[in-house]
């Protein structure tokens, strides 16, 4: 199915949780911030939150320089 991932269209398998999506994309930062449809998702909900068709997903690496 298709989703918008970091602003680009991507095709992913059906039935992925956010935790599985992190694995699917090989995200290396264990502390990445995940946003689903404009909302911050806390890590404890990664297994519970499922990805749906046309979801907008963002993986955010915090910028902490100044």
């Amino acid at each position: 199915m298709k989703i918008q991932f970091n602003g680009l269209e991507e095709t992913i398998p059906q039935g992925l949780s956010i935790r599985k999506l992190i694995e699917f994309f090989g995200e290396g930062d264990p502390h990445v911030i995940v946003e689903q449809n404009g909302r911050y998702i806390y890590p404890k909900n990664y297994d519970r939150c499922m990805i749906a068709e046309n979801d907008r997903i963002e993986f955010i690496n915090p910028n902490l320089g100044g």
Binding site: G7, G28, D29, P30, H31, I33, E35, G38, R39, Y40, Y42, K44, E58, I60, N61, P62, N63, L64, G65, G66
Partner: protein
Amino acid sequence: MVLLDSDRYARQIKLAQIGTTGQERLAGSTVLIAGAGGLGSLSALYLAAAGVGHLIICDPDHVEISNLNRQLLHAETSLGKPKVASAADRLGQLNASIRITPAQVRLDHGNMDGFLEGVDLVVDGCDNYQTRQVINRACRGHNLPWVFGGVQGFDGMISSFLPGTTACFECIVPDPATKSGAPSPDNGILGACAGMIASIQAMEAVKLLLGIGTPLANRLIRISGLDMRITTTCLSPNPDCRACGPTRQKPRTKKNENPI
């Protein structure tokens, strides 16, 4: 209070949301700017120019040549000077009618409270996780708003944290081990990127001081400068947050070993 600088601020006093009352309020405000680097340089310049009556600027470092691509408070003539001395000189030249308190200090859990006496708001100009944690905890303790900003490369993010009302910094960045959290001279940064984020922080600071507009509360703006993609994430307090959640813990360390 009679404003002696009404000409200087004429163009912002014209704004209905500010006016003479708002300008007087700015003149009576105190803002602590944590860091006189890429972010703090620009937010300090804008807040001084706007007539915020008292700026406290904290930074332990000295001006280096590699700072000058982005830290616009400092000039070649300031090389080797404490950043806060350079900052006070430059801000004093820009606006001699405001009070500037330079503090050459590394903010930590032990000294932060002492700097918050009389402060209305904190603007983040740090370059590391630990000092932001110090600000986050202290602002929560003093019930003070603070405006977070962070930059790296061409990218940056901003949010306003209002204790007791919004998600806090540690709700969204709970772990100091975050990959991008470590300051490093190897991390590149374009000056305009820091300026872009700091300008938004200054805008938010003025809004919060005056109670105008809609604060950037429970919203995280992210700007990807290379493709100029700007996104906003909705935040909510994290019930598991170790700083503001119901089961919050004390910070583990008293000393902050990282620079501002």
